[in-house]
Amino acid sequence: MVTPTPSPLPLTKNDFKTDQEVRWCPGCGDYAILNAVQTVFPTLGIPKEKFVVVSGIGCSSRLPYYVNTYGFHSIHGRAPAVATGIKIANPELSVWIGTGDGDALSIGGNHLIHAMRRNLDVKVLMFNNRIYGLTKGQFSPTSEVGKVTKSTPYGVVDIPFNPLSVALGAGATFVARSVDVMSKHLIGVLQRAAAHKGFAFVEIYQNCNIFNDEAFEHIVGKEVRDDHLVDVEHGKPLKFGKARDKGIKLNGFSPEIVPLATTPEDDLIIWDEKEPSSALAYLIARMPEGTMPQPIGVLRAVEAPTFDASIRHQADEVQKKEGSGDLRKLLYSGDTWEVK
């Protein structure tokens, strides 16, 4: 039997590529996300064998097959639950979840919000393409009202989720958004997520060029993105615009766009990702699409005890107090009697 030696650091991008042919459609935004993941993983100082990539079902959930780490392609919506068991079994593992808007917010909604509530130390990458791609074109919980899809030929009737505000509402300690085509930004956000101790939720605007092409083009298109995205940064005021001439200020509870030329900097919202209350983040997350810019970057990054650490800590404390359990004593406890 060979004595295992830990994988030699430093790792490279190639170490995280598998021999499997990547089967996403040509032009799919998922390639860019995979690329970002394979770029970031080797920089984290974590041995390769300690990574686990867990997924549910969907195009997003093919991710584990293309990352050369331990991986578990589980069932629709259940990745956070599987990840909970993995993380409790071995808290030293770096657990990442690849999921999508359907997998995470539809069938998987319950598991997602509870994992957030518990602050399970896992990193969730939610590929949001506002459609069900794998099953070929039904609407998802993030599809816009009126959208004509395979299952809604007369238009979507239900009102979509805003994923960031769901995460904030469920108490996620790290909430961020990035974009598949903004690779530098995406890599930066993934690195921040990796560095966060606790649950990290990263929504990624992802383009499904086959079933929902250009879903985010009105926000992330090269010509328009400066005017339709606001990249929040801790400690910095909210500014955006092609000419970087607009800011956001709070008028009561309503965020408002103001011209920087005539607005004192002190009036602008200065982003505080460590703010314990998620109220402001919620307001900014829900700025209406179209009339207001959409936030990207790290909206929230607060410290809190993680579920896996707490469960382990409790077990350790009990063990310290009671000592290692004596099985004979346990079985022979209660009212026993002897027959001679």
Binding site: M1, V2, P4, T5, P6, S7, T18, Q20, K48, E49, K50, V52, V53, V54, P64, Y65, N68, T69, Y70, G71, F72, H73, S74, I75, R78, A81, V82, A83, T84, G85, I86, K87, I88, A89, N90, E92, L93, N110, H111, H114, Q314, A315, V318, Q319, E322, S324, G325, L327, R328, L330, L331, Y332, S333, G334, D335, T336, W337, E338, V339, K340
Partner: protein, 648 residues
Amino acid sequence: MSNATATTHPLKTLDQVVIRFAGDSGDGMQITGNEFTKTSAIVGNDLATLPDFPAEIRAPAGTLPGVSGFQVRFSSHDIHTPGDEPDVLVAMNPAALKVNLPDVRPGKTIIVNVATFVEKELAKALYVKPDGSTINPLADGSLDKYRVIQVDLNKLAIESTKEFGLTPKESLRCKNFVALGMMYWLYHRPLEPTVKWLRSYFKGDKSSLADANIAAMKAGHAYADTTDLFHEQFEIPKAPMAPGVYRNVMGNQAVGLAFAAAAKITGVPVFYGSYPITPASDVLHQISKYKSYGVITFQAEDEIAAIASAIGASFAGMIGVTGSSGPGIALKTEAIGLAVMTELPVVILDVQRGGPSTGLPTKTEQADLLQAVFGRNSEAPVPVVAASSPADCFDRTLEAVRLATKYMTPVLLLTDGYLANGSEPWKLPDIEALPKIDVRFRTDPSGFLPYLRDPKTLARVWAKPGTPGLEHRIGGIEKRDGTGNISYDPENHDSMVRLRWKKVMNIASDCAAPLVAGPGRGPLLLLGWGSTLGSITGAVEMATAHNMPVARCHLQQVWPFPAQLESILKRYERVLIPEMNMGQLWRLVRSEYAIQAFSFTKVQGRPFTTSELYRKIREVIALPPGSSKPLDSAASYGVAASYDESGG
């Protein structure tokens, strides 16, 4: 071993008694029954219990849905069931009398708390005439065929606890101990074990409650001794039992203890993911305290998270376990399929209860067998193991862990509400003699493939994340053997389905043999599984005592069928399969062996009685040769399922 005072009452010896304590949910019948049981265990009787919980948390006091009962049978010989009917019914209120009277045979004893037989309580128990006026069964002659003993337990409770400064409500709550004290006297049991328990239960600033309940118990004892309430006292001598150390154990307790044992035996910690559900919740409660035994419990947000987390824990190198009841198992179906596909060891405990749907949460049934064997989409074979007594829950749980880890497969472990809450004396095992379960994790990267198999068991390697050089992906999509790479190839799928099937079916020659007793061949064999063991054993003993050559066979390994089963069954002219379902094992036996077995079904939420099984045995044995009526009530599927007093 008794502190009964010298009396003028003659002491008669009996070889067994069945007592049923019944009252409102607030009357403490479970505590009363448990104490009587513990004391009887200490006296050395063999015993069996059957608690009967109401479905509601707390129905309005005094109403019929609020009746809670506890039946205990204790004897000086080996017994197998808690008894078909009570010899003594202790009824704390009219509702308890109404609900339980149908089970009491004429001539038996009924002890009633006469204080509660007043208009208000009688009305709540629906002892009313069409014109709305109340009936008092104690006064209208309807109970003439029973031996009715009326006691004012309320008065005794209040008087005996006067000096302890209790509120009137607290005083009245001691009335169950008055009844207990009386029963201890009647059956010549010591008070000391219960005194000890009361003192440990009501400690510190609650110790006046201990004093009060002890006083109430002693008052009941003294009352029975000094009055002419009873004409005799009874003793039930201790039963011959193999030498050893014993404890009383309930099925759920035994399961919990086995998980702690499994962690110790294998050296691998156990992960229990579960969601509260009657009657399985107690397992979660119990083992949540076993952190120093290597058990971690996780109360999940729902049933699916419970099993999904167990699967994740198994992937990461713990022994993943999940526990639930029928409806929860139904929710876990897809995830069980994932465990089959990814070939991970997961133990799935199903404490069966009355169904379908929400069904009868606090009543027993064994109707999840087909769900256990087949209840997944597509071909997802899972071995099924079933406990047959409360103590057997311990051994079956260890067996489930053994199969799961040896064959890298989910395993369904079936118990039921009757076993979960029923109890019996358990001869404690020698820790060194517990079964060895050898678990090994792969560490060598050279030649490693995630679906590399042991040629004999067909089990794949267990390679846990964190192990250098073994990075691999598993998932629910069909894969090629060995590499585990996704494959949609038609021939590959065919061979993988057959491979997974074969792996599970091979367990037929590596599993618990059926328990067989009686003549090696003959006209009739009773075949059973699960908690019917007690009733079947009692009925076959009765038949044997009447010179009928009846044998019995009980499955602990239910699926795949043990290899020996077919030849056992074929040695008998007829096979009779009693089940608390609509004939599920019967269906499997027919389909596997083309044996035209006889099905005897009962779906009342309570076990078979020994006498109804015995009557069925007589009926089947008396059938002329060549008679073919294998279903107990062919066309109507059991419409006439109840038996009347005349033994029909």
